[in-house]
Each structure stands twice: as C-alpha cells, then as structure tokens.
Amino acid sequence: MEQNHLLTYLLLTPIAGSLLILFLKEENPKLIRWLGFLISIAAFIISLFVYFGFDASAADFQFQDKILWIKSLNVSYFVGVDGISLLLILLTTFLTPLTLLSSWKAIEKKVKMFTFMMLFLETGMIGVFMSLDMFLFYIFWEAMLIPMYFIIGIWGGEQRIYASVKFFIYTMFGSLLMLVAIIWLAVYASGPLGSFTTNLLDLYKVGPSVPREIQSWMFFAFLLSFAIKVPIFPLHTWLPDAHVQAPTAGSVILAGVLLKMGTYGILRFCLPLFPQSAVYYAPFISMLAIVGIIYGALVAMVQPDMKKLVAYSSVAHLGFVVLGIFAMTEEAVQGAVIQMINHGLSTGALFLLVGVIYERTHSREIAYYGGIAKLIPVYCAVLMITSLSSIGLPGLNGFIGEFLILLGSFKSSVLNSWWFTVFAASGVIFAAVYLLWMYQRVVFGTVKNPELQNKLTDMTARELIVIVPILIFIVWIGIYPSTFLDMTRLSTEKILRSVGSFTLSLVK
C-alpha cells in the first residue's frame, strides 16, 4: 500500500509545538496562549485534510503509515484510520483549540506548563485513536495519563491531589492487566503467524481462534481497562472526583475525549479480537450499562454541585454507548459511535458553561444561583440548547444517538430481550428530570443572591467563539447526521462482520 505520512504529521504537530513552547519565556503568557492555540488549530486543519482525503466507501484502514520500530520484538510504528477513529480524531482536534481558548482567563499560573500539557495530551489522544499496533497503542494509552494527572493535580480544585491520585491508580490498575493480555496475545500469535507480533491487523486474524476459556480471560483483561475509562458501573467513582477537581479545560477533555477512549477500545479491540466472548458476555455487560444509565441519572439528580451533576450524567450517557456497542446491530453500533461524538460535544459544552459562571463567582453550588435568566440571558439561552441536546430532544444531536442505540438494542438478537431497551429508555425520562431541575433552580425564579447582580456578566465574545462552533455541530448532527453516519457505516459493518458469525450461532 502507498505510504502516506499525513497522520504522522498530525500526530507530531501538537507534540512538536509543545516542545517549542518550552523554549518560550514564562513571563509572556499571551504569546504562549496564542502559540498554543495556533498549534492546535494547525492540528485541526491537518485533521481536516485527512477527513477530505478519507474514502468513506472503503472499509479498510486508510492513510496507513508503518515503520519497523523494535526489530527484536517485531513492534512497528503503525498508524491508520477508519471512519470511527477518524471521527474521534476530529473530535479531539476540534475540542482542543476550544479548551485552550476557554482557559485564556481561567488558567493564570504556570501557563507555559499548562499549554505544554494540553498539547502533549492531544498527541496522546490522537495517537490512541490511530494506533494499529498494540504496543504503540499501549504507549499512547499510558502516556496520556501523565499530562492528565498533572492537569488535575496542578490546576485543580481544593482536593486535587486526592482526585488525581485516585484517577491515576484506578486507570493504572486497569491498564496493567491489559498489558499482560497484550503480551499473552502477541506470544500466542507467534504460533499461527510464525512470529511474535503486536500488529493489530494480524492479531485480528488470530484472536477468534484463542481457546474459549483463555479468550474469556483476555476479553476481561482488556474490558476492565476500558470499563474503568468509560466508566462502566461500578467502576465510575473516580470520575466525579476527577471532574469536580479538574480545571474546566481538563473536564472538557476528560469528558469529551478521554472517556471515549474506553468505548473506542471496546469497539476496536474487545469485539473483533474476542468475538465469542464479546457475544457471550454481551447481556451481562449491557446489564451493567443499563444500571449505569439509571443509576447515573438518579445520582445526578440529587447532586448539589453542578459539575458533579454533569459528571454523573456522563455515567448515564456512556451507559447508552456501551449498550449500543454490545447490542451488536448496525443501528445500535452506529448510534453508539455518533453518541460518543454527541457526548463529547454536549457534555463538553456543559462543562464549559459551568466554567463560564464559575470563573465569575467561584461557586458551582446550584443553591447559590437562581434567577440568573434576567442577569445573563444569552448565557441562559446557550445553556438551554446545550441541556436540551443532552436530554436528547429530537432535532438536536443527542436524540440521534440515543434513538439509534435504543432502536438497535430493541431488535438485537444478541441481547434478545426487550427489557434492556425498556429499562434503558427510562433513562430518557430521568435525563429530563435532572437537567431541567438544575436549569430551573439555577436560571429561573427571582434573584435570591444579591451578590450575583455584581458578579455575573453575560458571555464575552471569546466565550461565544468557544461555544458557538459546538452549538453548530449540535444542530448539524441533529438535522443532518448523514455527514457523520456515512463516514462510519463501513467501519461499523466491518466490526459487526467480525462478530457476526458468532451472533448467528447464538440465535440458533
């Protein structure tokens, strides 16, 4: 296949830029901020080139770039994208400049370090989504933990140390098991393939032939690591702490992209590598997903802290994604992929919006606010649209994902019971409850707190520039999702084909 280095350029742009930033003087935060922003914009533009060069009518990984890296282990630097990974890369490169722009005022100390970390993180995230070598994937997966750890630990809230350590240990624990599984698989592959390999495309061929019992272990070793990241109930308790303590930019990236790495991992590895186990355990995992949907929504409902509320809502939303993946019908998996993007946009925007008023008042307590509709009408209108997107109102993005997931799970032969959908659909009601209740308490009523009159000012031009692009996509996906669904169709079908034969045997 013809070599194309575009993905490598994309991968290198943020990391090279971040190194460049290290040479700047800390005394000039303005220059640092602008440079960081421009670098992330450059990465976004490169990702657009990838998008326009991408052929949605081919199911293969495109823009493949491969260089032998560690000869003795047969490990390569091997990258490439299909529709799903490209979409997630676009989400990453889209959100990163926005978060940098949103931190213009919020991050005052150690601007240089912060910008460096954010760009470093971007490379890590892009790398995860484009790696086609398990070893390379693992490196990016772990590398990404480092900047996130620092972003929470340095620029976070009062309990940032507890939160960042909890985040680190939780995820580290999961990924170690994955490492063991990767090594085992690579060793196993040397049987049928003749040599030790971590090449994903080769491993796809041998994964299904792993004996059933061992395959279950492998499956769960991978799944655990991803499940913590998603997070799937009951592995979610790191998330509210990390979100609440992280600075706005950290929360946006955490919710917007990092959580998707878990669901992406399930889709990219767990399903095609271990299809028998995936099919076999699908009902069990879907059950956990549904518990997450309802549990997350109910706990979100009673949170006094806005950020924590949004954090728990993520547990519920990601539950939908997991359900969609394990329903293993085309509708559901397509819905799950688009729902990953939706959650990135809607929840990202919600965190940004909480950040906007937090910057002014330094409070995230719902009870502190009330009646702000009069004071900052533009903000409230934007918050309304974003909440509605998260609630899943038809015409906005959230509905497309939820509808496809529920529809697909309803007719799923893997799950083979309506009850999954019935319970999951009740989450649709609860989402309206917790978000509208929060909205009502924060926005409506009379201004209870006289302080607010002085402290609150409506959104600035910069803040609008951050949020409006997200709103555009919220409407775009809601009205014309084909732009995105068409991109992922063949990639989804390919994954489903790899598990398809095992689903059929189940039906029989």
Partner: protein
C-alpha cells in the same frame, strides 16, 4: 400549493429565527407582532391553497407526499423529512395555522407592554413550526420530532413568566412538571416505535399501514404497539393517569393556554391515534381500553371542573374532559367523529380561553371567579362571544359542539354500549353545568369585585389596583368574533346524515379514505334505526338544557344555594376541590421515594460508602501492609544474615526430606 407545503413549516421557522435572534434589538412591538402573525397567516394561506387543490383532485389522488431530504439512513432505517398532505393532515394544519393565526393576532394586544414580548412571539412561532412537523410528518419519527418539539415549546411558554409564583410553587416548577410528565408518555411512544420498526422494518406511515393489513402479525404484537402509542397519547393529551400537568400548565400566559393547551398541542394524541387507526383497529382490546380511559377522564375531569374557582382552571379541566370525549370516540372506532370534535373544540375552547384572557386583562390579572360578577355590561363583545362558546361546548342545538359531541355519543352507543353512552351523557350534563356556573359567576349577578376593591382600598389604600372593567381593544376582540362565528357554524360541515339526507356527513366523507381500512377491519354491524338516533339526540339536548338552566338558577338567581350545597356535601366538595388528592399521591408515592432513594441509598450509601469505601479501603490496606513489610527492612546486616541462614536451612531441610 401541495408542493409548497413545506412553506407552512419554513415560514414559522423564519419568524422564530427573526424574532428569536433579533427581537431584543427590534424593540418595536408592532413589528415583532406583525412578523410573528404574518408567518403563521401566510402558512395558513398555503394550507388553504393546498386544501383547495386537494379538494379538486379525484379521491384516490388526495394523498400526496413532499420529501425534502434524508434525516436518518442507517441499516434498514431510512427516514426522510417527508411531509404527507392528505385529508387528515390538511384538517389538522388548517386548525393549527388558522386558530394559531387568530391567537397570534390576539397576543399582539394581550402581551402589550410585556418585557418578554419578542421572546413570546418567537416561542409561539417555534411552536407552530414544531406542531406543523407533528401533523404533516409522513413517518413516525418526524411526528415524534414535532411531538417533542411542541413539548419543549409548551415548557418554554408555561414557564414564560419564570420569576413568578404559581399557587403553592413556582411557574418554573409547573413548566418542568409538564415536560417531565410528557416525557413519561414519550417513553411509551418510543417503545411503540421500536416495536413497529422491529415488526415492520419501517417507520413510514404508508409502508407500515399497508404492512399492518397484510403481514401475519399476532394480535399480541398489535396490542403492545397500540398500548405503547396510547401511553404516549395519554401524556400529550392529558388523559388518566398522566393528565396532572395540564391544570398546572395554566401558569402560562392565557394565549398559550388557548393555543397549546386547548386548541392544538393537546389534541396531538388524538391525531396520532387517528393516524394509526389501522393499528388500533387491529387491537380490539386496546380500543376498549382507549374508550374506557377516555370516558373516565371525561367524567373525572368534569367533576373536578365543577368546583374550581380559577377561571382558567375550570377551562383546563374542561379541556381534559373534552379530550376524553375524543378518545372515547376513537376507542369506539369513530375516528372521524373524534377529529371532528378536535376541530370544533379548537374553535370554542380557544374562544373560551381568549375570552377568559380578555376578562383577566380587564380585571387586572384577577383570576378568581368569586371576585367577578356582572361583567356583562362592561364587556359586551367578550360576553357574547364567551356565551356562544359556552353554548357550543354545552351542546346547545345548532352550535358546533352539538354536532360533534352528539356524533360521539351516538357512536358510543351504537359501536359501544349503553353504559358508554350513559356516562357520556351524564358528563355532558356536568359540562353544561360547570360552563354556565362559570358564565353566571363571571358575567351575571352581583358585581362582587366592587366589594373586594373596597376592602382592598380601605385596608391598604391601594387605589391603583381597583379594577375598572373595560372591553379589550379591537386586536383582541376581532379574533374573538371570528372564533365565535366558527363556534356556531363550524358544525355545519359535519351535519349527520340524519338531517342532511343523501349527501351524508360531509366531514366524514372527506376523511373516509383515511379511516376506511380501520373501519373495515372493525366492521361494526350494529343495526339501529333513525328513531333511536333521534331519541338519544333529544335526551342529550334535554340534558344540556337542564345543566345550563340549573347552573343559571343556582348561581344567578339563588346564589346562596351553592354555599349550602357545598356545606351539605362538604366531604365530596373538599375531595373535588382538592382534585382527589392525585397530585399529593404522586408526590408521596413516586417523586419523593425516587428523590430520597437516589440521594440516601444510591449516592450516599452505594457510591460513597460502598464503592469508594472499597477503593479507598484497598488503598489503605496496601498502605498498611507495605508499612508493615517496610519495618522488616531494618538496615541491620546481622538481621538479614539470620534471615538468610534460616532460609538456607529451610531449603536444605525440604530437599533432604523431599528426596
């Protein structure tokens, strides 16, 4: 015009965008009001054009589809933004844009001086936009888009005066309640759609409905689909058990109550059931459930309407009750009677609400009818039009409500049974009674507001609050007059075959192609004579007149009777006045347990205590163990040497004994 039907959707959207984005800059109320009204007025003209064009077509070509672009295309699911122009959707879109236009014009006067003027008109236009999607969509998903969209607009408009209080809570709470209760219904609707899709592989009306007639599908499946869809309808159309949001929805401005919570949105459930008539007809058991729920709701709401003192509350319960009639009709297979009542109800109930708005306006936002009285001479136009509407809803012969309600009662008897008919007639008696209680207390008798004003002025010296009742401006009264005329003559297009002879019922024959498959499936073969029809009609007329006279007598002639009766039947009165304590029951049985459970059991116990306890406990345990192990690292070389020796000895021992 059929090909331009999308304009009826596009124009209100444009109106919404103009007023929504630039309204705060326009400032001029006239400009804002005219933009908002014109958008809907033009949409009405387009609908009218499409109607006449359709009328000119031969019957078999009267169903046309206009497709815009693909919305969702995944696997077997292919949903387009497609709009269906047929007999049913045309009736609905004429009602929505026509009555909608009049209410927009009325609002120009009613909302005068409100600081959210532009916001109000942009929301109203957004409502028309979503409602048109609902009635015109050619598949379940576009219908659902509109369905949820009107729910949103309802939420925004109920909460329009978001900083005000409403009864025991706030306006914002009422708005939230409406949205959430509706969502519970939508949950059913969604499941219905999933089941339709997994059974018929499509969500497109024409495809699904033709497959319904030919696919070998079990009655259980049909029953489930129908029951799920009906759950959706009970939410949107405020039927038992999900009706509780509608009385609270009265927290919104009165034109909103007229447009959304009386004439259009709340009839969406009736429309949906009628649209899916063939599915319901394939599930006879569910048909019976629909009829019974409708009947019970009609009766139950009417009893609550008897004792309410808030003018809008009376009308709200009346709306719930009338919607019950529509479901009764649908449940006995009389779909076109159901839609006929949707139409006449839109005329007279919109008129009642707008009239109430005119009164409220004149009385300085006073809504308690106990403080009205004798307003007849101050506001003659409002009075006459309100009276017309009251006569229409009570089923006074010749008025629109008479024809539509009587048709429903007739089918309740001929397709249903005597009990259906009897409860229906009894509810009609209650309807006539509570309506004329309202008319009497508002327009006749003593001018009670003078007492209250004197008390008020003596007590607090607030002279500026003294109401000087006056007629409303032309921009408000002209819509009243037009609706008044429609409330009278609107019934003539549906005169029963009994009177009109050969041609039969025009309205029914217009809709016939839509409901034919369902009617054939149901195949009601009751043989009844004209004599029976005349007899039943006579009874219902007598009942209506009795109700009207009784209310007039009690509340105008002998006002003390009402008080004595309330005292005598104190138990029943309190029960009715407190609306059977249903709200309190829901709060205690559903809302509180969920909220408390979520906080105490899920969050504080499961999340924080158990899961985090395990995580943090594990961390502590490792810390402890490593702390203990660390102590062994004493740094004393002799200690290490001893350990080493012990180790070697142990290994040697094991080797020797092992061999």
């Amino acid at each position: 015009m059929i090909n331009f039907i999308y304009l009826t959707i596009l124009l209100p959207l444009i109106g919404f965008l103009i007023n929504g984005l630039f309204g705060s800059k326009i400032k001029n109320e006239k400009v804002i009001g005219i933009i908002g009204s014109a958008a809907v007025g033009l949409a009405f003209l387009v609908s009218l054009g499409a109607f006449f064009q359709t009328l000119g077509l031969p019957v078999e070509q009267r169903s046309n589809t206009v497709e815009l672009f693909t919305w969702l295309n995944v696997a077997g699911l292919n949903i387009k933004f497609g709009y269906l122009v047929d007999q049913l959707s045309l009736v609905m879109s004429l009602i929505v844009t026509g009555v909608g236009f009049l209410i927009h014009v009325y609002s120009i006067g009613y909302m005068h001086g409100d600081k959210g003027y532009w916001r109000f008109f942009s929301y109203l236009n957004l409502f028309i936009f979503t409602m048109m999607n609902l009635v015109l969509g050619d598949n379940f998903l576009v219908l659902f888009l509109g369905w949820e969209g009107v729910g949103l607009c309802s939420y925004l408009l109920i909460g329009f005066w978001y900083d005000k209080r409403f009864e025991k809570g706030t306006v914002a709470q009422a708005a939230k309640k409406a949205f959430i209760v509706n969502r519970i219904g939508d949950f059913g609707f969604l499941l219905g759609m999933f089941l339709i899709y997994s059974t018929f592989d499509s969500l497109n009306f024409s495809e699904v409905f033709s497959k319904v007639q030919h696919f070998p599908v079990s009655e259980t499946t049909f029953s489930l689909i129908a029951i799920f869809l009906f759950i959706g309808a009970t939410g949107k159309s405020a039927q038992i058990p999900l009706y509780v949001w509608l009385p609270d929805a009265m927290a919104g401005p009165t034109p909103v109550s007229a447009l959304i919570h009386a004439a259009t949105m709340v009839t969406a459930g009736v429309y949906m059931v009628s649209r899916a008539s063939i599915i319901f007809a394939s599930a006879p058991a569910v048909m019976t459930i629909v009829a019974i729920i409708g009947l019970l709701t009609a009766l139950f709401a009417a009893t609550m309407g008897l004792v309410q003192n808030d003018i809008k509350k009376v009308l709200a319960y009346s709306t719930i009750s009338q919607l019950g009639y529509m479901f009764l009709a649908a449940g006995v297979g009389a779909f076109s009677a159901s839609i006929f009542h949707v139409m006449t109800h839109a005329f007279f109930k919109a008129l009642l609400f707008l009239g109430a708005g005119s009164v409220i306006h004149a009385m300085h936002e006073q809504q308690d009818i106990q403080n009205y009285g004798g307003l007849k001479k101050y506001m003659p136009v409002t009075y006459l039009t309100f009276l017309t509407a009251a006569l229409a809803i009570s089923g006074f012969p010749g008025f629109s409500g008479f024809f539509s309600k009587d048709e429903i009662l007739w089918y309740a008897f001929s397709n249903g049974n005597f009990i259906f008919w009897f409860i229906g007639v009894f509810t009609a008696l209650l309807t006539a009674f509570y309506m004329f209680r309202l008319v009497s207390l508002t327009f006749y008798g003593e001018e009670r507001f003078k007492h209250t004003q004197q008390h008020a002025s003596e007590g607090r010296g607030e002279f500026e609050n003294v109401p000087h009742p006056h007629e409303s401006p032309k921009v408000m009264t002209v819509p009243l007059i037009i609706l008044g005329i429609l409330s009278v003559i609107g019934g003539f297009i549906g005169i029963p075959a009994l009177f009109s002879g050969e041609g039969g019922n025009n309205f029914e024959s217009w809709l016939e192609p839509i409901f034919k498959p369902a009617e054939e499936k149901l195949a009601y073969t009751g043989m009844y004579t004209h004599a029976q029809e005349i007899l039943l009609m006579t009874i219902s007329v007598a009942v209506a007149l009795a109700g009207i006279y009784a209310a007039y007598y009690i509340y105008t002639k002998k006002p003390d009777i009402a008080g004595t009766m309330a005292k005598k039947f104190k138990g029943i009165y309190t029960l009715l006045f407190n609306k059977y304590y249903v709200d309190e029951f829901y709060e205690a049985a559903v809302v509180q347990p969920i909220q408390k459970g979520a906080e105490k059991i899920l969050w504080k116990f499961t999340d924080t205590f158990i899961i985090d306890g395990i995580v943090n406990g594990a961390a502590k345990l490792i810390d402890k163990i490593s702390g203990t192990i660390r102590k062994m690292q004493t740094g004393v070389a002799q200690f290490y040497a001893v350990i080493m020796m012990v180790g070697i000895a142990a290994v040697l021992l094991w080797l020797i004994l092992g061999i």
